[in-house]
Structures are given as structure tokens and as C-alpha cells.
Symmetry: C2
Subunit: 190 residues, 2 copies
């Protein structure tokens, strides 16, 4: 039976994930990560060949954790419209818990204008996963595929707009407004 101990690699990734999100990627140095993780610099570079590789792992981690938390939050919600609406509640709860630091993936885009392929793929992967999530739900609520697609796009725009404005204002109000707009849109369906 394997030990339950946290591996060094995992410890580094957890520390980096916290610091990258709270302080920003460019403002977090390798030195601070190894200090707070309590490991040697060479240990970090053994597990992650470069800071960008560590960033990539950080983005995948955040993506997975967010979706796991969302599905858990929606566990007992079956109606597709309610699942969409409650996703906005979850988003607000999640952002507040992370001190209104915003979406890790959107932030990385702003921090790395000339991002490499690895980072680009990680960000687009998350965005497409979110887009698909909304699309599948609108298709359950609206038979007309074209209408469902348009609706999903609008919801996704309100979702990201609310996310960014909550980061700016450090308050849940924008996502609540976005939620009300979505409720209104969904109530128009026959």
C-alpha cells in the first residue's frame, strides 16, 4: 500500500498554485515558491523543467478543481435551466473564496501577452470546456439547435463579463446582475 504522504512535487504545485493566483504569475519568483514549500531550488527544477511548465500544471490544476467543485455543487440539481443559473452562484462563491482574484486562466492571458503554445492550449482547453458545459445545458432546455447555441454564447459572455467585473470591484454584484440577466433569458424559452 502506498504512503499517503504528499509528494514533493505535489507540495511544490500546491504552493505555486496558491502564490500564482494570489500574487500573480510574474510577481511570484521561484525563490518564494521554494522558500514557502520548504524545498531546494534544484528539487523544483527536477520536477518542473521551467517556470512555464509549472504554470501549465497550475492552470490544469485550477481547471480540474473548479469543475470538480462545480459538479459537486450541482449534484442534486437536475433541471438544465437551474444548473445554468446555479453555476453563476457557484462562480461567485468560488471567486469570493479566492479573494476576488478573478479567473486564473484569464489572468494568465493578461500576464503573458506573448504566451507559448503550452499555456495557450491550457487556457483554450478550459474555455472550451466551459463553453461546452453551457451548450449541452441549453440544448436540453431548447430544442432548436441554433437558438440553443446563440443562448449558450450569450450566457458564456455574461459569465466571463461577471467574472471580470467581480475581480475589478471585489464584489459579487456583477455576477448577481449577470445571473438575473440569465434568468430573464431562460424564462423567455417556451
Amino acid at each position: 500500500m502506498e504512503t499517503q504522504e504528499i509528494t514533493v512535487r505535489e507540495h511544490i504545485l500546491q504552493t505555486a498554485t496558491r502564490l500564482f493566483h494570489d500574487q500573480g504569475y510574474n510577481l511570484t519568483g521561484i525563490n518564494q515558491i521554494i522558500d514557502e514549500a520548504g524545498v531546494a531550488k534544484a528539487s523544483l527544477y527536477y520536477h518542473f523543467p521551467s517556470k512555464e511548465d509549472l504554470c501549465e500544471a497550475y492552470l490544469h490544476r485550477r481547471n480540474n478543481l473548479w469543475f470538480e467543485g462545480l459538479l459537486s455543487y450541482l449534484k442534486e440539481v437536475e433541471d438544465p435551466r437551474q444548473r445554468i443559473i446555479k453555476t453563476f452562484d457557484y462562480r461567485a462563491i468560488h471567486l469570493k473564496k479566492n479573494h476576488w482574484g478573478g479567473c486564473s486562466h484569464i489572468k494568465i492571458i493578461s500576464e503573458m501577452p506573448q504566451r507559448g503554445e503550452k499555456i495557450d492550449r491550457a487556457v483554450l482547453l478550459q474555455k472550451e470546456k466551459q463553453r461546452k458545459f453551457f451548450l449541452e445545458l441549453t440544448e436540453q432546455a431548447e430544442e432548436n439547435k441554433k437558438k440553443a447555441a446563440t443562448l449558450a454564447e450569450t450566457i458564456f459572455l455574461l459569465f466571463d463579463g461577471g467574472t471580470v467585473q467581480c475581480q475589478v470591484y471585489r464584489d459579487a454584484a456583477p455576477l448577481q446582475a449577470a445571473k438575473r440577466a440569465v434568468v430573464s433569458l431562460l424564462s423567455e424559452l417556451k
Copy 2:
């Protein structure tokens, strides 16, 4: 009569504005700014006491230029609904011209999680100016003040959502989708 020559201060600010937006604030060093502006380091610090002061001037500059360009673009558009809709067109044109680098103010928020008061004020100033712009137009198109306020908020969310997604995808499609959603919302008014 004063000389038309560009002052050193203005030259520094122009260079910094270009670099901050294209490369990011944290990835642009003072050294690169003075190199490309062709001035000495002490000259920069004479006009701008710190990099953060230069950042503040950069944000105000971007804010003013964007609004001047918008009002010029809307010069011959009188109908409030059309002014709202064409603002989305202008946004897409402006973002494309800036190589899909996104909104300077939203980006700074992501680059400086623990931003100082000066930066915070500059960002909120721009956001409130945009919010007020949309609100005044919806109040012209809809007499019910409460409905107009809700509509303006939704439009603003679609505006920022489209802006951020255009930055992610480096494409105008999200803002076009946002525009279609706004057209739909405005057509529902009596």
C-alpha cells in the same frame, strides 16, 4: 507661441503606453522604456517619481484616447440604440488595432493583484465612465428608469465579456456575438 516639439515627458509616456499595453506592465522594464525612448534613466524618474506613477499616467492616457476615439466614431449617430450597438463595433475595431491585447485597465488588475490606491482609482474611474455612458443611452431608449438601469448593466457585462473573450481567442467573434445579444435586447423595447 509655444513650440510644437514633443516634450521629453510626452515621449516617455508614449513609449511606455505602447510597451505596457503590448508586452504587459510587469514584463516591461524601465531600461527598455528609456532605451526605446532614447532618454536617460534619471530623466524618466524626474518626470515620473516611480514606475507606478508612470502606470497611472498610462491608464489615464488610454482611458482618454479610447473615449475620444469612440465619440469621434459615433459623431454622426444620433439614435441611442444605434450608439450602443456601434460602440460594440468600435470596441472590436479598437481591440484588433491593438493586436487583441485586451483592455488596458482589466489587464492591470490582473497584473497587480495588490494594486495601490492610485491605480485602483484610475481603473474604477474608467469602468464608471463606461457604465455611465451605457446608462445614459438606455435611459434615452427606455423611460422606465429601473428597466433602463438593468438593461445598461446587462449590456456592460456583455461588453466586458466580449472584450475578454476577444483577448483570449484573438478574434472578433465574441464581440460580434455580444453585439447580436445587445441588438436582441434592444429590439424587445416597446
